[in-house]
């Protein structure tokens, strides 16, 4: 596994709050767009093909159960 799946954000509660704050006041469509940009930005930060592939798989799998 190259994808980091163990807790890696120091202040997890703080990040979660900031994520919600970023969406505050946005319409459903604007929120979706913000998420899309975030995915692209973070994916570029990760860069590594294998890690991205694992991230896609994990996200898909978690949506199916």
């Amino acid at each position: 596994m190259t994808l980091i799946t163990h807790p890696n954000i120091t202040d997890a509660d703080g990040f979660y709050a900031r994520l919600l704050a970023a969406h505050q006041g946005l319409s459903e469509a604007e929120s979706q767009r913000l998420n899309a940009r975030l995915v692209l930005i973070l994916a570029n930060h990760v860069g590594d093909d294998a890690a991205l592939e694992e991230a896609l798989k994990l996200a898909k799998a978690a949506g199916q159960s």
């Binding site: 979706q32 767009r33 899309a36 940009r37 692209l40 930005i41 570029n44």
Partner: protein, 515 residues
């Protein structure tokens, strides 16, 4: 000035009076691919008959962008000088989102190549130049107004039925090469499946003549300010002709969109004035398809008959010319009894690999330009949005990945210490040599290029390369010396720092053996 279409002369073919002797190779179609193939075969001393149902060059606005690799091929065939003199040389492309430039690229940022990255030249000029050389060539029998109506084959030969203005006749051929275009009648006569996808999108293609001072660049707009919600492409061509591609949407009615009273106002918005003359208008839908196999017994497919792509990336004509590259030397050798017919499998494998690469690139570009509603459209728009703010998103903005020669996945001797740009399977990168160019010394026979050392004794021609900085960077890297085995199509077949006669001989044998 609009192009002056001069009909080529029709001559009575000998077959109308008496059966002709069997021909080694008959090419169907005198488009860029058929003509280039005839010239390439002739370079390898192989005569051919070329049949075309028409008697003028390509009508209207079709291919305009010819890649560096195509220019290198044209150079071997004797038309590069004319093409370069007439064509518009360009290497910078700019991509806009609305009126904001989000991305630009320079296709050939490094010096040390004989040919530029791209020229723009109308397809009718390319065909005219090729036809002029072919008509004057003693090994080429070019027959206009000769339409193939049927094909029949067995293990040893193919027979073509041909219609002319004076009646019908038949020709027997060792091999038939179908260069008869995207709608390939031969493909249909053989009932071959042409699988792939059609993009549900329409594009308006217009050539206009105007006195403009647009730079020699490719300009591409996503959601242009002058054209509702879609994309647009502008290219400069010779004779003050500009080519404009406008994405219309799937619902657009092609017959309506072609009307000058609809087209002209659209173009006025692109160029910002009405001081131009409309030279050509057509509406296209694009497809990506290919034959499962390009070799069907005695009938071989090359160019659009074998594979079609959407034009963003200029991979149609350019890849057809690379088919010629991969086929010419092999077919000549087979027709002359110097190689086994099984070698055609190598042509099939290499060009099928290339077709898949071209289809992949063209489909991805087309998809980026014509995203489906919903999440696909959202990601596309957000990539463009981000591209205005962060570098990383710019290369994701896909308005076409321009044609580059395919690197074949050869299973061949290699030395990982040598530079990746010249690994086996790639076209030998050019470099200056004395007052000339490396590319000019390659491309008829297989040869061994010795760099910084001697080649062992061989039955092959040896090219002793001049070591300069460019050659070192492209062929040696940190290594002190190297040997490169190079095929007749200028593709690197194998390379070593040091090799024995036996090793080189084995790699040379592999060139002439089916995969």
């Amino acid at each position: 000035m609009p192009y002056d279409y001069k009909p080529f002369p029709y001559h009575s073919p000998p077959g109308l009076d008496a059966a002709e002797p069997r021909h080694g190779v008959v090419i169907v179609g005198a488009g860029p691919v058929g003509l280039a193939l005839a010239l390439e075969l002739a370079r390898h001393d192989q005569p051919s008959v070329v049949l075309d149902d028409n008697d003028v060059v390509s009508v209207g606005s079709r291919a305009i962008c010819w890649s560096k690799r195509s220019l290198e091929i044209f150079d071997r065939l004797g038309i590069a000088e004319k093409a370069l003199a007439k064509g518009v040389t360009w290497q910078v492309g700019r991509t806009f989102h609305g009126d904001r430039e989000v991305f630009n690229f320079d296709l050939l940022p490094e010096a040390g190549h004989k040919m530029p990255a791209f020229i723009n030249l109308q397809q009718y000029y390319v065909e005219q130049f090729l036809a002029e050389v072919a008509l004057a060539h003693p090994l080429i029998d070019l027959r206009f107004k000769n339409r193939v109506t049927a094909v029949e084959q067995n293990a040893n030969r193919a027979i073509l039925d041909i219609e002319t203005p004076e009646g019908a006749y038949a020709l027997e051929a060792g091999y038939v090469v179908a260069c008869d275009g995207a709608r390939s009648p031969l493909r249909q006569m053989l009932h071959l499946d042409f699988a792939g996808e059609l993009f549900e999108e329409r594009f308006l293609i217009a050539d206009i003549e105007m006195q403009g001072d647009f730079p020699s660049e490719r300009h591409f707009w996503f959601e242009p300010p002058f054209h509702n919600g879609q994309s647009a492409l502008l290219h400069k061509q010779p004779d003050n002709i500009y080519r404009i591609d406008l994405q219309l949407g799937w619902e657009a009615d092609p017959e309506v969109e072609k009307q000058p009273e609809i087209v002209i106002p659209r173009i006025e918005k692109v160029v910002g004035h009405s001081d131009f003359r409309l030279d050509w208008v057509s509406v296209y839908t694009f497809q990506c398809r290919r034959l499962e196999s390009f070799v069907q017994g005695r009938v071989i497919f090359a160019g659009d008959s074998a594979h079609v792509v959407s034009p963003f990336g200029a991979r149609g004509g350019n890849s057809g010319l690379q088919d010629v590259d991969a086929l010419g030397w092999r077919l000549a050798a087979i027709a002359q009894g110097r190689a086994d017919a099984g070698l055609l499998a190598a042509y099939d494998a290499e060009r099928a690999f290339a077709a898949d690469e071209n289809i992949l690139n063209s489909s991805r570009a087309t998809r980026f330009m014509t995203p489906a509603d919903g999440v696909e459209r959202m990601f596309r728009d957000e990539v463009l949005n981000l591209a205005g703010h962060a570098d990383f998103a710019r290369p994701m903005a896909n308005s076409g990945r321009l044609s580059r020669p395919c690197s074949y996945p050869l299973d061949a001797p290699d030395d990982a210490a040598l530079p990746p740009v010249s690994r086996p399977g790639t076209v030998a990168p050019d470099a200056p040599q004395g007052n000339g160019w490396l590319i000019d010394a390659l491309g008829r026979e297989c040869l061994v290029m010795a760099i910084g050392g001697e080649a062992p004794d061989l039955g092959l021609p040896i090219l002793r390369a001049e070591v300069n900085d460019t050659l070192r960077a492209r062929y040696l890297g940190e290594a002190p010396c190297a040997l490169y085995l190079i095929r007749p199509d200028q593709v690197i077949a194998a390379r070593w720092q040091k090799a024995t006669t036996v090793q080189i001989e084995a790699a040379h044998q592999a060139i002439w053996t089916a995969p």
